[in-house]
């Protein structure tokens, strides 16, 4: 075993100020983010909580926090919406292309899978965090360390449900040797960035953050209830998709279609204040809008993602085409409108 670098015996930790002085940090978080409906349920707080107390069963909460909470303030430090700086627009990018994986089949061009697997092959990361689902379409997080594991059909495809990506990230960071790749909605991407900003260990270990284009996302309990009402049988459900303003649930024996607008009644409050459609903070964001059917739109923003895309091109793992940013503008604009929903902090 290699010699371990001698560490420090004494060190200091800067902790944030508490707006509510004599309350615990979590109570501050609750008052400022959760109770004000700002919370996006990205669960960055659950990721960092040293006692693993924060859960998201029915809204983010910390049951029994009086007994368990160590009042370290980490949750406040990492919460992207504690001091909310809404982001929007297309963001900066190096390249804006459309791609279709030759190796994987999935939603559209399966470029998310391709990006992570290629990064794994390059040795940049040794695991990717994917959202899988169980028989009831509830999300379970998946650490993919081996492209072979992607044979599981439930990993690909959109679920339109919040995934506990970030709680899984902590374990991934703990186990990883080379690095972790994360896929997530814009809120999750912001959470990861915030973690990286606060804690060097995440800077070191999280190597690739792939964002997804996102208009809104739903809580599992809400959407499953809603879909059941619409007549979707989860045992037979194969995939879900949103195209052209319609939600399509494909089952073994038919389809259920309805307008996306109808879903607004179960729209989470966190999404209601989210203005980011393209995950501007990510290394690369991927989505179906803006490219031909069967292709995914990829906005390559940072150096790591660039390297991966080059690797893919070099190996010829994917077909590439032109992406049309203009198609995105409508949705970007649509999301930007939500800025008005943000109430000013206390």
């Amino acid at each position: 075993m290699a010699a371990i670098a001698i560490g420090e015996s004494e060190w200091e930790v800067a902790i944030p100020e508490k707006p509510l002085k004599d309350k615990l940090y979590f109570e501050n978080l609750k008052a400022k983010v959760i109770d004000t409906n700002l919370c996006s349920r990205c669960l960055t707080c659950a990721c960092i909580c040293p006692v693993d107390g924060i859960t998201a069963v029915d809204g983010v909460d910390f049951p029994d926090y009086e007994a368990k909470c160590t009042d370290c303030g980490a949750c406040v430090r990492v919460c992207p919406r504690f001091v909310y700086e809404p982001k929007s627009g297309l963001g900066s990018y190096i390249e804006f292309i459309a791609g279709r994986s030759k190796r994987f089949a999935g939603q559209d061009g399966a470029m998310v899978t391709e990006l992570l697997v290629s990064a794994m092959e390059m040795g940049m990361i040794d695991r990717g965090l994917f959202a899988g689902r169980d028989e009831k379409w509830a999300i379970e997080m998946f650490h993919v360390r081996d492209p072979q594991q992607l044979a599981i059909t439930t990993l690909g495809g959109t679920k339109y449900t919040f995934a506990d990506v970030l709680p899984a990230l902590k374990k991934a960071v703990r186990f990883t040797k080379r690095g972790v790749g994360v896929v997530g909605t814009p809120c999750i991407v912001s959470g990861v960035r915030k973690l990286q900003q606060e804690f060097p260990i995440f800077r070191e270990k999280v190597k690739l953050v792939v964002g997804l284009f996102c208009t809104e996302n739903f809580h599992y309990e809400d959407i499953s209830r809603y879909l059941k009402e619409k007549g979707v049988d989860f045992d037979k459900l194969i995939k879900t998709d949103i195209t052209k303003g319609k939600f399509i649930a494909t089952m073994t024996d038919g389809e259920v279609k309805f307008k996306v607008k109808e879903l607004e009644e179960i729209l989470p409050s966190g999404c209601n204040v989210c203005t980011d459609f393209t995950a501007v903070e990510s290394d690369a964001s991927v989505g179906s809008v803006g490219s031909a059917p069967g292709f995914s739109t990829v906005a390559v923003r940072e150096e790591p993602a660039k390297k991966v895309i080059e690797y893919i091109k070099e190996k010829g793992y994917a077909d590439f085409g032109e992406a049309d940013t203009s198609q995105l503008n409508f949705l970007i604009g649509h999301k930007k409108e939500r800025e008005k929903n943000i109430t000013k902090p206390i």
Binding site: G132, H143, V144, D146, Q149, I152, F175
Partner: protein, 771 residues
């Protein structure tokens, strides 16, 4: 249950006429109905053999429950055995007493959270509990004395603790730590992780395989030296197997294994196959396929090609609910568990460890006890036997000559038509427990599969770990391991000789070899501190060096044993009556032996020159001068004489190893590679075992080690996910489990009394087979 009052027997004794006489007579005439249920039976035998001779106390071992008045429950009572215990207890005349020896029968010992063990105290009223794992003979005799005292009216625990004050100065409130076990989330399970090894023959072989198999395989990987993994689809499995069998002469399956991967909704089913052709001997080919994780997935059986995999397939059916189409034994006979229970699936959870003592919490999970006393037979067996005019006798699980399994014997006159084994009475779910324990904690666990050959059990497991980590063990440790492994092999042989002589009715033979065993155990106890369960070999070496006195003693043993062995030879081995009993009985030809999957010395007795110590040498076997013993007879006497000759070779090895150790300067006995920061502990692990090994994690992949244990090929296959400090799956195939088939086939057509000769000649040790 009714009448389960602990002091009822004492009341019976103390009432009625002539009470003092009754008490006195009962006190000195406690005849134990030796309820050999598990490995403590080995130590019980030591207590009643010449080393301690329990008969001195008037306790004459009696196999028959009607005539005994004392049960010594020797360890584990599984769900299946629970009924037998109750039946035996009910059969015994009043007044009767029960002692439970060994931790398994108390709060479960190392098997405390097993899904299959019960607590005897809930089945029968127990008078005394004797701790130990296994107990020492002294402990057992202390228990007998305690019962004698109880009969006299002094009912007491024989230890008194003094309560001392604990430090009471004010301290700070402390947090309770979480478990030391780390489970990786959604682990990546892969059987065929490729590995770069220097193995030209293998690369050549892979090339040939690819050419031969054509399109029926998915991938062929070299996973380690001498290990090849072939992936195929469930449909093509039989095709691959047939090609391998036809073109390469792969003639036996060493292992059938199933791995449950719930998060990927699949089972991996793997067959480890090999050949007894000279050049292919060390190679183990793993053929594996993935099938969907349903309630009862179906896969075609390979028993038509390799009958040796038969019992392992049945076992997998019990544990995972996978149906092997074409195997007749798909009837869930192993566990006598609820029909729907598939315990080795990952969603079957065991009780979690507790690290803080809480008042009023149970220590072991409560297991539902069987409610009736029926021990079911397979349907229609009796009717069918009656029609063909066969006589059916059920032998065991509590029978002087059955060991702890049940044999259903069909006979016509004095000729055996069929013997159907009903194993699993000592199934203690080792494989499941191993998935929930740290790597280091599994060392004592696997050792308990067979405490008559503990060091080989220990060595096999540790070697699999070392193989995975690529550790080179210090030379001195290697010699000590070899020495101990040979001692253990001798112990196993003498154990089997003793049982064999008992089975042929020769109690003197039993006593003589048990005296020799007593010497072996003395050597082991001085080396390690424990008689039967040393747990002495740890990854990277051994726990500590051994002293010169012990080396001298071991060296003396190699010559001292001859005197007693000579007498044993005269009175038992060359005794014309014994020769007449064993000669020409239960013959297995070379082909039969290979087909039925016989391993070890029993296979060699049928003429196959296969000894892993030569084929794939480990430790220092290749540096020492010794020979493999084979024979052509293939009968009971051949098997026995072959093993006897092997023991003489063992003495040779032992002598050489001890001499080398005496010459060798003292040095490290644990590899510094594995100790890391704690390398000062390389001479003695004392004080740093957990530091150094608690977080041992194996690289991803399946690591298979085979060693030659006392009774044959012992295979450990550890599947690691590369992140957890607990194994994902450990599969252990013990020689006795493989030999079970041989006993059945050799018995058919022989005379009834020959069954015990055959059974004895195979050295069957049920805890090892059932695990």
């Amino acid at each position: 249950m009714e009448g389960d009052d602990k002091d009822r027997n004492i009341r019976i004794l103390h009432s009625g006429v002539l009470t003092p006489l009754r008490r006195w007579g009962t006190k000195w005439s406690l005849w134990p109905c030796h309820f050999v249920t598990s490995c403590c039976g080995v130590e019980l035998a030591h207590a009643f053999a010449c080393g301690f001779d329990g008969e001195r106390l008037g306790t004459l071992n009696m196999g028959i429950s009607r005539q005994a008045n004392f049960i010594i429950v020797e360890g584990t009572i599984t769900r299946k055995m629970a009924r037998a215990l109750r039946i035996v207890w009910e059969q015994m005349p009043d007044p009767k007493f029960v002692n439970v020896i060994g931790a398994c029968g108390q709060r479960g010992g190392i098997f405390w959270n097993s899904y299959n063990i019960t607590r005897p105290s809930e089945i029968v009223p127990v008078d005394f509990f004797i701790p130990g794992c296994p107990i020492t003979p002294e402990g057992l005799l202390r228990g007998v004395r305690a019962v004698q005292e109880k009969i006299e009216g002094r009912d007491r625990t024989t230890i008194k603790f003094k309560t001392a004050a604990l430090p009471s100065e004010e301290g700070k409130e402390n947090r309770i730590p979480t478990t030391a076990k780390i489970f990786a989330p959604t682990p990546a399970i892969r059987v065929d992780v490729p590995k770069e090894v220097d193995w030209d023959f293998g690369r050549e072989m892979v090339k040939n395989l690819k050419a031969q198999l054509g399109d029926v395989y998915k991938s062929i990987t070299i996973t380690d030296k001498n290990r090849i993994a072939i992936k195929t689809t469930p449909e093509n499995l039989v095709k691959v197997a047939r090609k391998l069998s036809d073109t390469m002469g792969i003639d036996h399956a060493k292992n059938v294994n199933v791995i449950d991967v719930p998060h990927e909704r699949k089972f991996i089913v793997e067959y480890m196959v090999s050949s007894y052709r000279e050049e292919l001997m060390p190679v183990i080919i793993t053929i594996f396929t993935e099938i969907g994780r349903e309630a009862e997935p179906v896969l075609s059986s390979l028993t038509a090609l390799w009958e040796s995999g038969d019992y392992s397939e049945r076992e997998m059916h019990d544990f995972f609910g996978i149906r092997f189409e074409g195997n007749e034994g798909m009837n869930r006979k192993f566990l006598l568990a609820p029909e729907t229970e598939t315990p080795l699936r990952k969603d079957f959870k065991l009780e979690e460890e507790r690290y803080v003592l809480e008042d009023g919490t149970p220590f072991a999970p409560a297991i539902e006890l069987p409610s009736d006393l029926k021990m079911p037979l397979s349907e229609g067996l009796l009717e069918e036997a009656e029609k063909s005019d066969d006589f059916v006798v059920l032998i065991g699980p509590h029978h002087t000559g059955s060991g702890h399994l049940r044999w259903i014997m069909r006979m016509k006159g004095d000729v055996i038509v069929d013997v159907i084994p009903d194993p699993g009475y000592v199934h203690r779910s080792m494989e499941k427990l191993a998935e929930n324990r740290l790597y280091i904690q599994n060392i004592p666990l696997f050792e308990r599969a067979n405490i008559s050959d503990p060091i080989n059990m220990n060595l096999g497991y540790v070697r699999a770990i070392e193989k995975a980590l690529g550790i080179e063990v210090p030379e001195r440790a290697k010699y000590i391991r070899t020495m101990m492994a040979e001692l253990s092999r001798m112990g196993a042989f003498f154990y089997d000789s003793g049982i064999f002589s008992l089975f042929t009715g020769h109690s003197t033979g039993f006593m003589y070899v048990w005296a020799i065993r007593e010497m072996i155990l003395e050597a082991i106890v001085r080396m390690t501190g424990s008689r039967c369960t040393p747990s002495f070999i740890i990854p990277g070496g051994i726990r500590r060096d051994i002293s010169d006195d012990v080396l001298n003693m071991t060296s003396n043993f190699t010559s001292a044993v001859n005197k007693r062995l000579q007498k044993f030879e005269d009175i038992f081995i060359y005794n014309p009556v014994f020769v007449a009993r064993a000669k020409g009985v239960g013959v297995l030809t070379r082909e039969e032996a290979i087909r039925y999957g016989i391993v070890g010395p029993f296979l060699r007795a049928s003429g196959v020159d296969y000894d892993i110590r030569k084929v794939e040498p480990y430790e220092v076997y290749d540096k020492l001068d010794w020979e493999v013993t084979t024979g052509d007879a293939g009968d009971c006497l051949g098997r026995y004489m072959g093993r006897y000759e092997e023991i003489k070779q063992s003495l040779r090895i032992l002598k050489q190893a001890v001499d080398a150790l005496k010459e060798m300067p003292r040095g490290d006995v644990i590899s510094e590679e594995v100790l890391g920061e704690y390398k000062e502990a390389s001479k003695d692990i004392k004080g740093h075992l957990f530091h150094a090994y608690g977080n041992l994690v194996l690289p991803r992949g399946e690591w298979t080690s085979v060693i030659e244990a006392g009774r044959g090929t012992l295979l450990y296959s550890i599947l690691s996910d590369g992140e957890s400090n607990v194994p994902y799956r450990v599969r252990v195939v013990t020689p006795c489990w493989m030999n079970l088939r041989g006993i059945i086939e050799a018995s058919k057509g022989e005379r009834v009394a020959d069954f015990w000769t055959i059974y004895g000649s195979f050295g069957y040790f049920p805890p090892e087979a059932d695990r």
